[in-house]
Protein backbone atom coordinates (compact mmCIF):
# COMPACT_ATOMS: atom_id res chain seq x y z
CA UNK A 1 0.00 0.00 0.00
CA UNK A 2 1.14 3.57 -0.72
CA UNK A 3 0.41 5.71 2.32
CA UNK A 4 0.53 9.47 1.95
CA UNK A 5 0.08 11.21 5.31
CA UNK A 6 -0.39 14.93 5.73
CA UNK A 7 2.19 15.98 3.14
CA UNK A 8 2.82 19.67 2.81
CA UNK A 9 4.82 21.67 0.33
CA UNK A 10 5.35 25.33 -0.39
CA UNK A 11 6.76 26.65 -3.65
CA UNK A 12 8.05 30.18 -3.21
CA UNK A 13 5.24 31.61 -1.05
CA UNK A 14 2.44 29.49 -2.45
CA UNK A 15 1.15 26.47 -0.53
CA UNK A 16 1.14 23.79 -3.26
CA UNK A 17 0.17 20.92 -0.96
CA UNK A 18 -1.65 21.72 2.26
CA UNK A 19 -1.72 18.42 4.18
CA UNK A 20 -2.60 15.77 1.59
CA UNK A 21 -3.44 12.29 2.95
CA UNK A 22 -4.72 9.19 1.13
CA UNK A 23 -3.90 5.54 0.49
CA UNK A 24 -3.51 3.59 -2.75
CA UNK A 25 -4.00 -0.15 -2.36
CA UNK A 26 -2.22 -2.89 -4.26
CA UNK A 27 -4.51 -4.55 -6.82
CA UNK A 28 -6.57 -1.38 -7.28
CA UNK A 29 -6.56 1.56 -9.67
CA UNK A 30 -6.60 4.79 -7.67
CA UNK A 31 -7.11 8.04 -9.51
CA UNK A 32 -5.90 11.37 -8.24
CA UNK A 33 -8.31 13.82 -9.83
CA UNK A 34 -8.18 17.58 -9.96
CA UNK A 35 -8.19 20.61 -12.18
CA UNK A 36 -4.93 22.01 -13.55
CA UNK A 37 -2.73 23.27 -10.71
CA UNK A 38 -4.48 21.20 -8.03
CA UNK A 39 -1.17 19.56 -7.01
CA UNK A 40 -1.63 16.10 -8.61
CA UNK A 41 1.78 15.93 -10.32
CA UNK A 42 3.52 17.30 -7.21
CA UNK A 43 2.03 14.46 -5.15
CA UNK A 44 3.40 11.85 -7.60
CA UNK A 45 6.82 13.52 -7.69
CA UNK A 46 6.86 13.65 -3.89
CA UNK A 47 6.03 9.91 -3.69
CA UNK A 48 8.94 9.20 -6.05
CA UNK A 49 11.34 11.44 -4.10
CA UNK A 50 11.69 13.76 -7.10
CA UNK A 51 10.72 16.81 -5.11
CA UNK A 52 11.32 17.36 -1.38
CA UNK A 53 8.34 17.91 0.93
CA UNK A 54 8.16 20.32 3.86
CA UNK A 55 6.23 17.98 6.15
CA UNK A 56 4.27 14.74 6.45
CA UNK A 57 5.33 11.25 5.44
CA UNK A 58 5.15 8.86 2.50
CA UNK A 59 5.50 5.09 2.82
CA UNK A 60 5.51 2.46 0.10
CA UNK A 61 4.79 -1.05 1.36
CA UNK A 62 5.59 0.25 4.85
CA UNK A 63 9.00 1.64 3.80
CA UNK A 64 10.13 5.21 3.19
CA UNK A 65 11.29 5.96 -0.37
CA UNK A 66 14.88 4.91 -1.01
CA UNK A 67 16.90 3.78 -4.04
CA UNK A 68 15.92 0.17 -3.25
CA UNK A 69 12.22 1.17 -3.38
CA UNK A 70 12.60 2.03 -7.09
CA UNK A 71 12.60 -1.73 -7.60
CA UNK A 72 9.04 -1.88 -6.31
CA UNK A 73 7.52 1.25 -7.82
CA UNK A 74 7.61 2.70 -11.34
CA UNK A 75 6.71 6.22 -12.41
CA UNK A 76 5.44 7.13 -15.86
CA UNK A 77 5.72 10.93 -16.07
CA UNK A 78 3.82 13.11 -18.53
CA UNK A 79 6.94 13.62 -20.64
CA UNK A 80 9.78 11.72 -22.23
CA UNK A 81 12.42 10.61 -19.76
CA UNK A 82 15.10 9.45 -22.17
CA UNK A 83 17.54 11.61 -24.17
CA UNK A 84 16.22 12.50 -27.61
CA UNK A 85 19.46 11.33 -29.21
CA UNK A 86 18.80 7.73 -28.15
CA UNK A 87 16.92 5.25 -30.29
CA UNK A 88 14.09 3.24 -28.76
CA UNK A 89 16.33 0.17 -28.61
CA UNK A 90 18.92 2.17 -26.61
CA UNK A 91 16.19 3.20 -24.19
CA UNK A 92 15.19 -0.43 -23.68
CA UNK A 93 18.85 -1.39 -23.21
CA UNK A 94 19.24 1.40 -20.63
CA UNK A 95 16.33 -0.02 -18.64
CA UNK A 96 17.72 -3.56 -18.90
CA UNK A 97 21.13 -2.30 -17.73
CA UNK A 98 19.96 -0.45 -14.63
CA UNK A 99 16.70 -2.05 -13.45
CA UNK A 100 17.02 -5.54 -11.97
CA UNK A 101 13.20 -5.94 -12.22
CA UNK A 102 13.14 -5.15 -15.95
CA UNK A 103 11.17 -7.75 -17.89
CA UNK A 104 12.48 -7.84 -21.52
CA UNK A 105 9.77 -10.26 -22.72
CA UNK A 106 7.04 -7.97 -21.47
CA UNK A 107 8.80 -4.99 -23.03
CA UNK A 108 8.79 -6.83 -26.37
CA UNK A 109 5.06 -7.58 -26.03
CA UNK A 110 4.30 -3.94 -25.27
CA UNK A 111 6.49 -2.70 -28.15
CA UNK A 112 4.48 -4.94 -30.52
CA UNK A 113 1.15 -3.97 -28.92
CA UNK A 114 1.87 -0.27 -29.46
CA UNK A 115 3.54 -0.96 -32.84
CA UNK A 116 6.72 0.88 -31.91
CA UNK A 117 9.85 0.74 -34.07
CA UNK A 118 13.04 -0.07 -32.15
CA UNK A 119 15.20 1.91 -34.59
CA UNK A 120 13.27 5.18 -34.25
CA UNK A 121 14.93 8.14 -32.53
CA UNK A 122 13.29 9.14 -29.26
CA UNK A 123 13.61 12.84 -30.08
CA UNK A 124 11.51 12.41 -33.23
CA UNK A 125 8.52 10.70 -31.61
CA UNK A 126 5.13 12.41 -31.66
CA UNK A 127 3.54 13.13 -28.28
CA UNK A 128 1.26 10.09 -28.52
CA UNK A 129 4.06 7.73 -29.53
CA UNK A 130 6.31 9.15 -26.81
CA UNK A 131 3.64 8.41 -24.20
CA UNK A 132 3.28 4.85 -25.54
CA UNK A 133 7.04 4.37 -25.18
CA UNK A 134 6.88 5.90 -21.71
CA UNK A 135 4.24 3.28 -20.86
CA UNK A 136 6.55 0.53 -22.15
CA UNK A 137 9.36 1.79 -19.89
CA UNK A 138 7.08 1.85 -16.85
CA UNK A 139 4.91 -1.21 -17.43
CA UNK A 140 7.72 -3.59 -18.40
CA UNK A 141 9.14 -3.44 -14.90
CA UNK A 142 8.06 -6.18 -12.50
CA UNK A 143 7.04 -3.76 -9.79
CA UNK A 144 4.21 -3.69 -7.23
CA UNK A 145 3.08 -0.13 -7.93
CA UNK A 146 2.85 2.01 -11.03
CA UNK A 147 2.34 5.78 -10.94
CA UNK A 148 1.12 7.55 -14.09
CA UNK A 149 0.94 11.28 -14.63
CA UNK A 150 -1.68 12.41 -17.15
CA UNK A 151 -1.17 9.57 -19.66
CA UNK A 152 -3.99 10.86 -21.90
CA UNK A 153 -3.03 14.51 -22.04
CA UNK A 154 -2.76 15.89 -25.59
CA UNK A 155 -3.01 12.48 -27.25
CA UNK A 156 -5.16 11.50 -30.23
CA UNK A 157 -8.32 9.40 -29.80
CA UNK A 158 -6.91 6.11 -31.12
CA UNK A 159 -3.76 6.32 -29.03
CA UNK A 160 -5.95 7.01 -25.99
CA UNK A 161 -8.01 3.91 -26.73
CA UNK A 162 -4.85 1.84 -27.05
CA UNK A 163 -3.44 3.19 -23.79
CA UNK A 164 -6.78 2.63 -21.99
CA UNK A 165 -6.67 -1.00 -23.15
CA UNK A 166 -3.53 -1.46 -21.06
CA UNK A 167 -5.64 -0.82 -17.95
CA UNK A 168 -7.93 -3.74 -18.71
CA UNK A 169 -5.08 -6.15 -19.44
CA UNK A 170 -3.23 -8.43 -17.05
CA UNK A 171 -0.49 -5.77 -17.01
CA UNK A 172 -2.19 -3.98 -14.14
CA UNK A 173 -3.60 -7.02 -12.35
CA UNK A 174 -2.29 -7.43 -8.79
CA UNK A 175 -0.47 -4.13 -9.04
CA UNK A 176 -1.38 -0.91 -7.38
CA UNK A 177 -1.92 1.82 -9.95
CA UNK A 178 -2.05 5.50 -9.04
CA UNK A 179 -3.02 7.69 -11.97
CA UNK A 180 -3.55 11.42 -12.22
CA UNK A 181 -5.85 12.83 -14.85
CA UNK A 182 -8.19 15.67 -15.56
CA UNK A 183 -9.71 13.77 -18.48
CA UNK A 184 -11.54 11.20 -16.43
CA UNK A 185 -13.87 10.07 -19.25
CA UNK A 186 -11.32 7.65 -20.72
CA UNK A 187 -10.91 5.59 -17.58
CA UNK A 188 -13.89 6.34 -15.36
CA UNK A 189 -15.26 2.79 -15.65
CA UNK A 190 -11.87 1.32 -14.66
CA UNK A 191 -11.17 3.29 -11.48
CA UNK A 192 -11.60 1.56 -8.10
CA UNK A 193 -10.81 4.51 -5.89
CA UNK A 194 -10.92 8.26 -6.46
CA UNK A 195 -9.15 11.04 -4.58
CA UNK A 196 -10.30 14.55 -5.51
CA UNK A 197 -7.79 17.33 -5.00
CA UNK A 198 -8.47 21.04 -5.00
CA UNK A 199 -5.84 23.71 -4.35
CA UNK A 200 -3.47 21.27 -2.71
CA UNK A 201 -6.05 19.62 -0.41
CA UNK A 202 -8.03 16.39 -0.58
CA UNK A 203 -11.68 17.36 -0.89
CA UNK A 204 -13.19 13.89 -1.50
CA UNK A 205 -11.80 10.38 -1.13
CA UNK A 206 -14.14 7.52 -2.03
CA UNK A 207 -14.59 3.99 -3.34
CA UNK A 208 -16.16 4.33 -6.81
CA UNK A 209 -18.25 1.14 -6.66
CA UNK A 210 -19.64 2.10 -3.26
CA UNK A 211 -20.45 5.60 -4.51
CA UNK A 212 -22.34 4.15 -7.46
CA UNK A 213 -24.25 1.61 -5.34
CA UNK A 214 -25.06 3.75 -2.30
CA UNK A 215 -25.51 7.19 -3.85
CA UNK A 216 -26.06 6.41 -7.54
CA UNK A 217 -23.31 8.83 -8.51
CA UNK A 218 -20.53 8.41 -11.02
CA UNK A 219 -17.07 9.91 -10.53
CA UNK A 220 -18.01 12.72 -12.93
CA UNK A 221 -21.14 13.46 -10.84
CA UNK A 222 -19.02 13.84 -7.71
CA UNK A 223 -16.51 15.98 -9.63
CA UNK A 224 -19.35 18.25 -10.74
CA UNK A 225 -20.48 18.66 -7.12
CA UNK A 226 -16.95 19.47 -5.96
CA UNK A 227 -15.62 21.66 -8.72
CA UNK A 228 -18.78 23.44 -9.85
CA UNK A 229 -20.31 23.79 -6.39
Amino acid sequence: MIEVSDIRKKYRRKQVLGGVSFQAQKGQITSLIGLNGAGKSTVLKAIMGLTPIDGGSIRIGGQAISPAAYNTIAFIPDRLTMPGSMRLRDGLQFMADFYPRWNPARAEDLMSFFRLERGEKIGRLSKGTAMKFNLVLGMAQDVDYVLMDEPFSGIDLFSRELIAEVFTSQLVEDRGVLITTHEIGDIEHLIDHAVLLDQGRVVRDFDCEQMREEHGKSVIDVMREVYRG
Binding site: K45, M48, G49, L50, T51, P52, P67, A68, A69, Y70, N71, F75, P77, R79, L80, T81, M82, P83, G84, S85, F94, D97, F98, Y99, P100, R101, I122, G123
Partner: protein
Protein backbone atom coordinates in the same frame (compact mmCIF):
# COMPACT_ATOMS: atom_id res chain seq x y z
CA UNK B 1 28.55 -3.04 -3.70
CA UNK B 2 29.43 -4.91 -6.91
CA UNK B 3 26.07 -3.96 -8.50
CA UNK B 4 26.65 -0.31 -7.63
CA UNK B 5 30.15 -0.42 -9.10
CA UNK B 6 28.82 -1.88 -12.35
CA UNK B 7 26.06 0.76 -12.40
CA UNK B 8 28.71 3.48 -11.88
CA UNK B 9 30.79 2.20 -14.80
CA UNK B 10 27.74 2.01 -17.05
CA UNK B 11 26.65 5.53 -16.09
CA UNK B 12 30.16 6.89 -16.69
CA UNK B 13 30.21 5.13 -20.08
CA UNK B 14 26.85 6.71 -20.94
CA UNK B 15 28.09 10.18 -19.96
CA UNK B 16 31.30 9.79 -21.97
CA UNK B 17 29.36 8.67 -25.05
CA UNK B 18 27.14 11.74 -24.70
CA UNK B 19 30.04 14.19 -25.10
CA UNK B 20 32.35 12.26 -27.40
CA UNK B 21 31.33 14.43 -30.38
CA UNK B 22 32.31 17.62 -28.56
CA UNK B 23 35.57 16.04 -27.39
CA UNK B 24 36.53 14.81 -30.87
CA UNK B 25 35.65 18.21 -32.33
CA UNK B 26 37.86 19.98 -29.78
CA UNK B 27 40.71 17.54 -30.39
CA UNK B 28 40.50 18.15 -34.13
CA UNK B 29 40.44 21.93 -33.61
CA UNK B 30 43.44 21.90 -31.26
CA UNK B 31 45.44 19.63 -33.60
CA UNK B 32 44.57 21.72 -36.64
CA UNK B 33 45.59 24.97 -34.93
CA UNK B 34 48.84 23.67 -33.45
CA UNK B 35 50.08 21.38 -36.23
CA UNK B 36 48.74 23.46 -39.11
CA UNK B 37 50.07 26.62 -37.45
CA UNK B 38 53.52 25.11 -36.95
CA UNK B 39 53.65 23.93 -40.55
CA UNK B 40 52.77 27.40 -41.83
CA UNK B 41 55.25 29.18 -39.55
CA UNK B 42 57.99 26.71 -40.53
CA UNK B 43 57.40 27.23 -44.26
CA UNK B 44 57.53 31.01 -43.87
CA UNK B 45 60.76 30.86 -41.85
CA UNK B 46 62.37 28.42 -44.29
CA UNK B 47 61.57 30.60 -47.28
CA UNK B 48 63.05 33.59 -45.41
CA UNK B 49 66.23 31.59 -44.69
CA UNK B 50 66.40 30.36 -48.29
CA UNK B 51 66.27 33.90 -49.68
CA UNK B 52 68.85 35.00 -47.09
CA UNK B 53 71.15 32.15 -48.19
CA UNK B 54 70.59 32.95 -51.85
CA UNK B 55 71.53 36.58 -51.28
CA UNK B 56 74.66 35.80 -49.24
CA UNK B 57 75.75 32.67 -51.17
CA UNK B 58 76.20 30.70 -47.90
CA UNK B 59 75.60 26.96 -47.43
CA UNK B 60 73.06 25.74 -44.85
CA UNK B 61 75.89 24.61 -42.54
CA UNK B 62 77.50 28.05 -42.75
CA UNK B 63 74.16 29.68 -42.05
CA UNK B 64 73.77 27.52 -38.94
CA UNK B 65 77.23 28.48 -37.71
CA UNK B 66 76.34 32.14 -38.00
CA UNK B 67 72.71 32.02 -36.87
CA UNK B 68 72.67 28.97 -34.58
CA UNK B 69 70.05 27.09 -36.61
CA UNK B 70 66.28 27.04 -36.28
CA UNK B 71 64.90 25.52 -33.09
CA UNK B 72 61.42 24.07 -32.57
CA UNK B 73 61.02 26.38 -29.57
CA UNK B 74 61.66 29.41 -31.73
CA UNK B 75 58.96 28.27 -34.14
CA UNK B 76 56.55 27.43 -31.30
CA UNK B 77 57.26 30.86 -29.81
CA UNK B 78 55.73 32.43 -32.92
CA UNK B 79 52.65 30.27 -32.33
CA UNK B 80 52.17 31.23 -28.68
CA UNK B 81 49.09 33.32 -29.43
CA UNK B 82 47.16 30.70 -31.41
CA UNK B 83 48.20 27.88 -29.07
CA UNK B 84 46.89 29.97 -26.19
CA UNK B 85 43.59 30.46 -28.03
CA UNK B 86 43.30 26.69 -28.66
CA UNK B 87 43.97 25.87 -25.00
CA UNK B 88 41.63 28.65 -23.84
CA UNK B 89 38.93 27.10 -26.09
CA UNK B 90 39.43 23.74 -24.34
CA UNK B 91 39.26 25.32 -20.87
CA UNK B 92 36.09 27.28 -21.72
CA UNK B 93 34.38 24.21 -23.24
CA UNK B 94 35.33 21.95 -20.29
CA UNK B 95 34.20 24.60 -17.77
CA UNK B 96 30.89 25.10 -19.62
CA UNK B 97 30.37 21.35 -19.97
CA UNK B 98 30.92 20.94 -16.21
CA UNK B 99 27.59 22.77 -15.78
CA UNK B 100 25.93 21.53 -18.98
CA UNK B 101 26.49 17.91 -17.88
CA UNK B 102 23.88 18.53 -15.15
CA UNK B 103 21.53 20.98 -16.88
CA UNK B 104 21.15 18.93 -20.07
CA UNK B 105 19.35 16.33 -17.93
CA UNK B 106 16.83 18.87 -16.64
CA UNK B 107 16.12 21.00 -19.68
CA UNK B 108 15.09 20.27 -23.22
CA UNK B 109 12.30 18.02 -24.44
CA UNK B 110 13.59 14.97 -22.61
CA UNK B 111 13.75 15.27 -18.84
CA UNK B 112 16.36 12.58 -18.39
CA UNK B 113 16.81 13.77 -14.78
CA UNK B 114 13.53 11.99 -13.88
CA UNK B 115 14.94 8.67 -15.06
CA UNK B 116 18.39 9.17 -13.53
CA UNK B 117 17.01 10.17 -10.13
CA UNK B 118 14.74 7.10 -10.12
CA UNK B 119 17.48 4.56 -10.70
CA UNK B 120 17.48 1.83 -8.07
CA UNK B 121 21.02 2.75 -7.04
CA UNK B 122 22.42 5.44 -4.70
CA UNK B 123 22.00 8.83 -6.36
CA UNK B 124 25.58 9.76 -5.53
CA UNK B 125 26.59 7.44 -8.37
CA UNK B 126 25.25 10.12 -10.74
CA UNK B 127 27.65 12.60 -9.20
CA UNK B 128 30.59 10.22 -9.42
CA UNK B 129 29.77 9.19 -13.00
CA UNK B 130 29.60 12.82 -14.14
CA UNK B 131 32.85 13.55 -12.32
CA UNK B 132 34.50 10.53 -13.99
CA UNK B 133 33.23 11.78 -17.36
CA UNK B 134 34.67 15.29 -16.83
CA UNK B 135 38.00 13.82 -15.70
CA UNK B 136 38.04 11.62 -18.81
CA UNK B 137 37.33 14.73 -20.87
CA UNK B 138 40.23 16.65 -19.25
CA UNK B 139 42.74 13.79 -19.33
CA UNK B 140 41.86 12.97 -22.94
CA UNK B 141 42.73 16.55 -23.87
CA UNK B 142 45.84 16.36 -21.70
CA UNK B 143 46.96 13.14 -23.41
CA UNK B 144 46.08 14.63 -26.80
CA UNK B 145 48.26 17.67 -26.05
CA UNK B 146 51.20 15.33 -25.41
CA UNK B 147 50.50 13.59 -28.73
CA UNK B 148 50.39 16.98 -30.45
CA UNK B 149 53.79 17.98 -29.01
CA UNK B 150 55.16 14.66 -30.32
CA UNK B 151 53.50 15.44 -33.66
CA UNK B 152 55.08 18.89 -33.69
CA UNK B 153 58.52 17.33 -33.09
CA UNK B 154 57.91 14.94 -35.98
CA UNK B 155 56.78 17.77 -38.23
CA UNK B 156 59.91 19.72 -37.26
CA UNK B 157 62.07 16.77 -38.28
CA UNK B 158 60.23 16.34 -41.58
CA UNK B 159 60.19 20.00 -42.61
CA UNK B 160 63.51 21.34 -41.31
CA UNK B 161 66.71 20.20 -43.07
CA UNK B 162 69.02 18.42 -40.62
CA UNK B 163 71.72 21.09 -41.09
CA UNK B 164 69.38 23.66 -39.50
CA UNK B 165 67.91 21.55 -36.70
CA UNK B 166 68.63 22.03 -33.01
CA UNK B 167 67.88 18.74 -31.27
CA UNK B 168 66.00 18.69 -27.95
CA UNK B 169 64.41 15.91 -25.95
CA UNK B 170 60.63 15.56 -25.66
CA UNK B 171 60.57 16.50 -21.95
CA UNK B 172 62.85 19.51 -22.57
CA UNK B 173 60.53 20.71 -25.32
CA UNK B 174 57.50 20.58 -22.99
CA UNK B 175 59.43 22.14 -20.11
CA UNK B 176 60.59 25.07 -22.23
CA UNK B 177 57.15 26.12 -23.45
CA UNK B 178 54.10 27.60 -21.71
CA UNK B 179 52.50 24.17 -22.02
CA UNK B 180 54.39 23.21 -18.89
CA UNK B 181 51.43 24.63 -16.89
CA UNK B 182 49.04 22.13 -18.50
CA UNK B 183 51.49 19.25 -18.88
CA UNK B 184 53.43 19.37 -15.60
CA UNK B 185 56.50 17.18 -15.80
CA UNK B 186 56.94 16.81 -12.01
CA UNK B 187 54.50 14.69 -9.99
CA UNK B 188 53.94 17.38 -7.33
CA UNK B 189 53.17 19.99 -10.01
CA UNK B 190 50.81 17.54 -11.70
CA UNK B 191 48.99 16.84 -8.42
CA UNK B 192 48.69 20.55 -7.56
CA UNK B 193 47.52 21.70 -11.00
CA UNK B 194 45.04 18.85 -11.46
CA UNK B 195 44.08 18.90 -7.75
CA UNK B 196 43.07 22.56 -8.18
CA UNK B 197 41.23 21.65 -11.39
CA UNK B 198 39.39 18.81 -9.63
CA UNK B 199 38.30 21.10 -6.78
CA UNK B 200 37.01 23.68 -9.28
CA UNK B 201 34.95 20.93 -10.98
CA UNK B 202 33.56 19.77 -7.60
CA UNK B 203 32.64 23.35 -6.65
CA UNK B 204 30.86 23.87 -9.98
CA UNK B 205 28.99 20.56 -9.54
CA UNK B 206 27.88 21.62 -6.07
CA UNK B 207 26.81 25.04 -7.37
CA UNK B 208 24.67 23.35 -10.05
CA UNK B 209 23.09 21.05 -7.45
CA UNK B 210 22.48 23.95 -5.04
CA UNK B 211 20.73 25.80 -7.87
CA UNK B 212 18.63 22.70 -8.73
CA UNK B 213 17.68 22.42 -5.06
CA UNK B 214 17.10 26.03 -4.01
CA UNK B 215 16.97 27.79 -7.40
CA UNK B 216 18.21 31.44 -7.28
CA UNK B 217 19.16 31.35 -3.58
CA UNK B 218 21.10 28.15 -4.17
CA UNK B 219 22.84 29.60 -7.21
CA UNK B 220 23.97 32.68 -5.30
CA UNK B 221 25.10 30.57 -2.33
CA UNK B 222 26.97 28.16 -4.59
CA UNK B 223 28.70 30.96 -6.48
CA UNK B 224 29.71 32.68 -3.22
CA UNK B 225 31.08 29.42 -1.80
CA UNK B 226 32.99 28.59 -5.00
CA UNK B 227 34.37 32.13 -5.33
CA UNK B 228 35.55 32.16 -1.68
CA UNK B 229 37.35 28.81 -2.04
CA UNK B 230 38.83 29.78 -5.42
CA UNK B 231 40.11 33.19 -4.23
CA UNK B 232 41.66 31.60 -1.13
CA UNK B 233 43.41 28.94 -3.23
CA UNK B 234 44.70 31.44 -5.81
CA UNK B 235 45.91 33.74 -3.00
CA UNK B 236 47.83 30.88 -1.38
CA UNK B 237 49.27 29.81 -4.76
CA UNK B 238 50.40 33.36 -5.51
CA UNK B 239 51.82 33.64 -1.97
CA UNK B 240 53.86 30.45 -2.47
CA UNK B 241 55.49 32.02 -5.53
CA UNK B 242 56.04 35.39 -3.84
CA UNK B 243 59.29 35.51 -1.89
CA UNK B 244 58.13 38.42 0.26
CA UNK B 245 55.28 36.47 1.87
CA UNK B 246 55.15 36.20 5.69
CA UNK B 247 54.96 32.39 5.49
CA UNK B 248 57.56 30.05 4.00
CA UNK B 249 56.62 28.64 0.58
CA UNK B 250 56.44 25.11 2.05
CA UNK B 251 54.02 26.32 4.75
CA UNK B 252 51.89 28.06 2.14
CA UNK B 253 51.97 24.91 0.03
CA UNK B 254 50.84 22.82 3.00
CA UNK B 255 48.04 25.34 3.64
CA UNK B 256 47.10 25.22 -0.07
CA UNK B 257 46.84 21.44 0.03
CA UNK B 258 44.83 21.64 3.26
CA UNK B 259 42.33 24.12 1.74
CA UNK B 260 42.18 21.95 -1.38
CA UNK B 261 41.28 18.86 0.65
CA UNK B 262 38.73 20.67 2.86
CA UNK B 263 37.05 22.26 -0.22
CA UNK B 264 36.89 18.89 -1.99
CA UNK B 265 35.45 17.13 1.08
CA UNK B 266 32.89 19.92 1.67
CA UNK B 267 31.78 19.93 -2.00
CA UNK B 268 31.44 16.12 -2.07
CA UNK B 269 29.50 16.02 1.20
CA UNK B 270 27.15 18.81 0.11
CA UNK B 271 26.63 17.16 -3.27
CA UNK B 272 25.77 13.86 -1.58
CA UNK B 273 23.27 15.55 0.80
CA UNK B 274 21.58 17.54 -1.97
CA UNK B 275 21.18 14.58 -4.30
CA UNK B 276 19.84 12.45 -1.48
CA UNK B 277 16.96 14.66 -0.46
CA UNK B 278 16.93 18.21 -1.75
CA UNK B 279 17.33 18.19 -5.50
CA UNK B 280 14.08 18.39 -7.45
CA UNK B 281 12.92 17.97 -11.05
Amino acid sequence: MKTNLIALLKLADLEIRRFRGILLGLMALVALIQLGGLSMVTRTRLSQIESQIERSGMTLAEFKLQNSGLSLLELLGELDGVTGVAIACCIVVVAAYTLIIWYRDWFGRASFAYRLLMLPHPRFLLYLSKLAAILTFVFSLFAWQIVIVAGQMLLYHVQIPHQLRIERTFIDTIRSTDLVIFIPVRLTEFLLVYGLGLVIVLLLFTTALLERSYRLKGLLGGLALSAAAFVLLVWLWAGAEDRGSFLYPTELLALFIGVLLVSAAAALWLGWRLLRGKVSV
